[in-house]
Each structure stands twice: as C-alpha cells, then as structure tokens.
C-alpha cells in the first residue's frame, strides 16, 4: 500500500511536469509522423541498368525491374557511368544487359546478366537477391515462351509477349514470395517503420530523463522523511520501480494505440507484442532508476539522459535499420537493448513472428532488464539511506 502511495506521488509529479508531458505525449507522435512520412525506401533498392544492345529481352527485363516494388530503376548509357554510380554508392547494384540477349534466349542458350555491387554489405546482398528474383521470374517466362514456340504455335517473340501479359496472374505469385525474402531483415515502410522504432526510442529516452525525479526526491529530503516514518527502504524502492514501470508502460501503450488508430500500424501477434512492450517497459524502468542514481543533479539527468537515449537509439537501429550499416556497426549496435527490441519488432511486423520466434530477443531484453533493475536497486538503497 505504501509502495503504491510512493508510486502514485512519483507519477503525479512527472505527469504534472509540462516539459515531461511534451516529451512523453506530443513529441513521439510528431516524430512518428515525420519519420513515417520521410523514411520510405529502406526496402527499396536502387538499381542501375545499362543496356548494351540486349534487344526485346533486355527491355522486358528492365520493365520487370521497374514493376518490382522493391527496386527503383535508373538507366545508364554506358558501362563506365554505371560502374561509377555503383562505386559512389548511388546504386545498391548495377545490372548489365549483354548485347544479343534476345537472340541467345531465343536459341535457348544461357544468358549472363552481369550484377555489380561495390561491397558486400547486407543491403547490397538484399538488393542483389531482389534483382535475382526478378531475373528468375523473367527466366520462367522465357522458358514458358520457348516451350510454347517449340511445342505450340507462334514465334518465340509472340509467346514471350504473351507470357509477359500473363505475368500478373501467374508469375507474380512466385516473384512476390521470392522478393519478400530480401526485406525480412528490415521493418515495413512508413508508420510501420517509425512507430515501433520510436516506441523503443522514446520509452527508453524518457525513462532516462525521468531519472531526474529520483534525484530531486533525494535532494528535497523526501527519502529521508519517508524513512523517518514507518517505511522500509525496500518499500520505497518498490514504489519507485512501480512508478517508473508504469510510466514506461503508459508511454509504450500511448504509442501502440496512436500507431494503431491514427497511423494504421498493425503490431503483429498480440501476445508477443504485449510481452515485448512489457519487457521493454521493464528495461526502461531499470534504466530510468539507474539514471536517477548515477547523476548528481536533476539537470544532469534531464540533459545527459536524453542525449544518451538518442545515441543509444541511433546505435540500436531506431533511426535507420541496422541492416543497412556495416557488420561492425551492427555488432556494436547489438550491445544496446534497443537493437534487440527493434529486431523483435521486425520479426513481429515483417515476418509475422510469434512469441517463440522472438524468444531469443526476449531473453536478451530480460537480461538487460534484470541488469538495470538490480544495479538500480543496489544503488538506490544507498541513495535512500
């Protein structure tokens, strides 16, 4: 009961703080809106195409690239220009359509379509996969056309055109399922990207900032006053933990609700999402309480806390997917709890993951929560004494 009284007063004070309310309620919604509107394209790969005289087959493949929602296609006049664009990183991959491609295809020979990538990071691999699957889809049509012209009526060209027109009904299915693989390691676009990452981001950041309230309570002499009464230190710590957990949970719930209602975000498997949100709130509660015992003044906590929250958010993939950074940065990123939380959301939103598929991430987050809460408790016992 006394722990609840302590939690209530802590929450009341945070809620009464207008600045805190802005950071908790207004800012997340604005950022989700802006980031959601701006960050489209982590799953769209930039592909350059140079046609060295590939004829109709080449034009069809280029059109197929352009029809793929995963690819943004630019055409290049020369091989050198394409090479340069790949080298500069303007393109994820370059595709070279060799001369005489339609002739070779018509004969049933093997066509080598050149795919260029500068360095093998995961986004280039994903882009190459996306390109390959379009080529594979086109290959299937070529085979169908050859089959038709050999065993049925019409010329190869006529049948290839017919296979192309049938594509939406037949080949599309195979194409989709293959290209979907390439975007498995990033969140969907738009608000489905910004809402979960900003949930991870703001719950943690605001918890760190809220550490100021513990410092203030200590400086005001309130812990001393409480312990002069019939209140154990453990009760005070339980009360503060409850307060920080509740605040983190409210913050997360707000984003889930606003994301779902206003931005149409589907949060994936409800059980898995609930467990993930609760666990993340625990991580935030622990981090917030720890910040309340690490800093010396409320000003420090409310200045350094958010800065640390932003830095960890960047490292942990809240601002951009870790799939597009180098593997070293990705490994460093996974030292933050944020990366594991974003990974878990990616599984739930992009791969229809369930609680068992995010079990590894939940385990790591559980370990982070335990680490933060235990060290915060140990330090808070000293603060309260």
């Amino acid at each position: 009961m006394r722990a609840i009284a302590i939690a209530r007063v802590s929450i009341r004070r945070i809620v009464r703080d207008r600045t805190a309310l802005f950071f908790i309620v207004v800012l997340p919604v604005i950022v989700i809106l802006i980031v959601g509107a701006a960050e489209r394209g982590f799953t769209t790969f930039r592909v350059g195409v140079v046609d060295l005289g590939a004829g109709q087959a080449g034009r069809q493949l280029t059109t197929a690239f352009e029809h793929s929602s995963d690819l943004a296609v630019s055409r290049y006049a020369t091989l050198a220009a394409l090479r340069k664009a790949v080298a500069r990183g303007e393109l994820n991959v370059g595709v070279v359509l060799p001369s005489g491609m339609d002739v070779t295809e018509g004969r049933g020979g093997t066509v080598a379509v050149g795919v260029m990538a500068e360095q093998a990071n995961s986004s280039q691999q994903a882009a190459a996969t996306a390109v390959s699957s379009v080529i594979a889809g086109q290959g299937a049509k070529v085979q169908a056309a050859r089959f038709a012209s050999v065993h049925g009526s019409g010329t190869f060209e006529e049948n290839l055109a017919r296979a192309g027109s049938l594509q939406p009904h037949v080949a599309q299915v195979g194409l989709r399922s293959q290209t979907a693989d390439s975007s498995h390691n990033v969140l969907p676009e738009g608000f489905s990207y910004s809402a979960p990452t900003m949930l991870v981001f703001f719950v943690f950041l605001n918890a760190l900032a809220a550490g100021a309230s513990i410092i203030e309570t200590r400086q005001l002499g309130m812990y001393e006053r409480m312990t002069a009464g019939p209140v154990r230190r453990g009760t005070i710590i339980a009360g503060e933990t409850l307060a920080y957990f509740t605040m983190a949970l409210l913050q997360a719930t707000l984003i889930v609700v606003v994301g779902g209602v206003a931005f149409g975000v589907s949060w994936g498997d409800p059980l898995a999402a609930t467990v993930l949100v609760a666990l993340w709130a625990l991580v935030g509660a622990g981090a917030g309480m720890l910040s309340g015992t690490l800093f010396h003044t409320p000003e420090q906590a409310s200045a350094i806390g958010p800065t640390a929250g932003i830095a960890l958010g960047m490292l942990g993939g809240c601002m951009w997917p870790l799939a597009i950074v180098s593997s070293t940065m990705r490994q460093i990123g996974h030292l933050t709890p944020q990366a594991w939380a974003v990974d878990a959301w990616t599984s739930l939103l992009s791969r229809s993951g369930t609680i068992s598929s995010i079990a590894p991430q939940l385990a790591v987050l559980g370990a982070f929560a335990a680490l933060f809460l235990v060290s915060a408790t140990v330090r808070l016992r000293r603060v309260v004494a």
Binding site: R8, V9, G221, V231
Partner: protein, 358 residues
Amino acid sequence: MSLRADSVLRVRWWLSFTSDGARCRGPAAGNGDLVPIVSTGNTAQVPDEPVLRCAELTRRFGERLAVDDVSFSLDAGEIYGLLGPNGAGKTTTIKMVCGLLEPDGGTITIGGRPAAGDLSVKSLVGYVPQDVALYSDLTARENLAFLGRLYRLHGALLEERVSEALELTDLSDRAGDRVDSFSGGMKRRLNMAAGLLNHPVLLVLDEPTVGVDPQSRHAILERVQTFGRGGMAVLYTTHYMEEAERVCDRVGIVDRGRLVAEGTRRELVARLGQRDRIELGAAGDLERLAAAVRTVPGVESADTADHAVHLVAEDGRRILPAILEAAERAEVALNSVDVVEPDLEAVFLHLTGTALRE
C-alpha cells in the same frame, strides 16, 4: 572611571524579567477553539518509562566525533531543548533518535522499546527535519495526504488528520496551493504540519524556526508549547537562546558533540552564581578587546560574536569600571555596554568559553 564622551552610548540594566518558574502552563490564550493534539496513547508504552531515553549516544563521521556520549531523557508533556551552536551535533543526535543514522555507541528507547529498526516504534515519532522536506510541485494538501498514507492513514481519517494539521499550522486557506508558491515561513509551518499527521507521542523538531519571519516564528513557538501542554513529548533543537528559554521545560546545552549541562532554565542559571554576562558593542578590533578584558580580575571568559564581545564575570556590575578601563587601554571605542541578567547565553559562555552565535 574615565570615559571618553562618545565611548559609551548607553549602559543598560536588565533588571526586570520574568522568572522561568512563572512560565504559563495554563491553556494558551488566543488559541480559539482548537484542541491541542493529545497523543492518542501508545498501548505498547512501558509504564514509568520516559517517552524518549538516549543513553551514552556516540556517533563519528570519520575522525570527527559529532556526538560524544550524550544521555538525556524526556517525559510525556515535556519540551526538551537541545541548545548549541551550529555543528554542535544536534542534528546528528536527532537523526539517531529518528532512526536515520545508526549510533556508533549507546542506546535509544522510545516508550521503553528499543528504537532500532522497529517500524512500529517509528510510527510513534513525528519528525520535522531542519531543512524543509516537501514536494514543491505538489499542493500542501497533496504533500500531507501522501505523508499520511505512509503512516497507513486513509479515507476519512486521513482527510481529518490532514485538515487538522493544516489548521494547527494556520495553512487551511492555502491547502490547495502548490508549495513552491509558499513563503519561507509557510513552508516551515507545513514542514511542521507533516510531523503531526500521525499524532506522535514524540515530536522531534530540528531548528524549526531558522530563516522564518518573526510572525511565523511566533506562531511556531506558540504551537509547540501547545503540543507540550497537550501531552506530547517534544524534542526541540535550536541555536537561539531566547527560543530555548521561551519554549523548553528543560534544556540540554550541547557543544562539540558533548552535552555539557542539563536542567531547567532556573537550574542552569543557578550554576552561574553571582556571575553576570556583559555585552560590549564595539566597532574596532574585537579580538583585541576580548584579549584586553580577559586580563581584568573577575572576568572568566570572553568571546566575540555578532559585532560584540561577550563576557562572563563574577559580580559584573562591580567590575564594570575596570572592564571599561581595559577597553580604553586597548584603544577600542565602545558603542554599547549591556550588563545582562543571568540567562542561558551566559550559562553557555560560562560552560564552554564561547559565545552562542546567530
């Protein structure tokens, strides 16, 4: 006696003052219809035991002995003052009594029961810390309601206690205002109100009037006296001699961690015998003046504080001319000479050799 014309502006003789025996113990005038809090009584109170007994309390901070072998006790309805300068160890003593600091040695019993780590004993005590401890962004009522809940008060009883505490500290009309809009004196009164919520058997007040306007100070002192009359035991610390004289039934004089003397005002003053306290106000080198008057036969101790030299002398009125001569020899121009009837300040100076500073 040869005095320069301007050297003595006035010589005051304080002959009339009320003796402490005459201190009013009846119902306070102007109390309205407020009923002073009467401790609801602790069923666990061991009969014939004092409400608070401190025995041989000792506490160190590193090398510094903050409290050194301090023993005292106090009964229900008694107001006991710890009087001493800053750093004497008053707060340290009080924090040990309230279970906020572990003593290095000695024992504390409250109502006959050892205080250490016993939550039910803690709920008998009301603690009013030296520094105001309140949430400045909450209202007065919210602060009190929160603190009351820590004493397991709730519902109608909680509301009643909160209203009562606000009324006792004259804050009822500001109950809904945030504490950060309060004046220093109002904060102090609310700080005190928070110590009354649980109807304590023992009320502990640590310098409750520091930095308070005269009106609030008067109100606080008045109220504390009412609590004593209501049967509460009050432990009161201060470095203001007048406060100790005014509100306390008994005073313990503390200096550098030691309780150097204890008793009623009359008992303490009696220790002075025929001694008087003399205050020499001067503008010049006070240390030199103090050194000069120490050489006068009959002067026991002299110390500088608050732009004056304070001295205790055997039969001060008789040796006053010699003191004035010494001042002249030291070439320090006096601008006032007060011979003060024996008071606690004189006792303090007599016992410790130092003057109580503001």
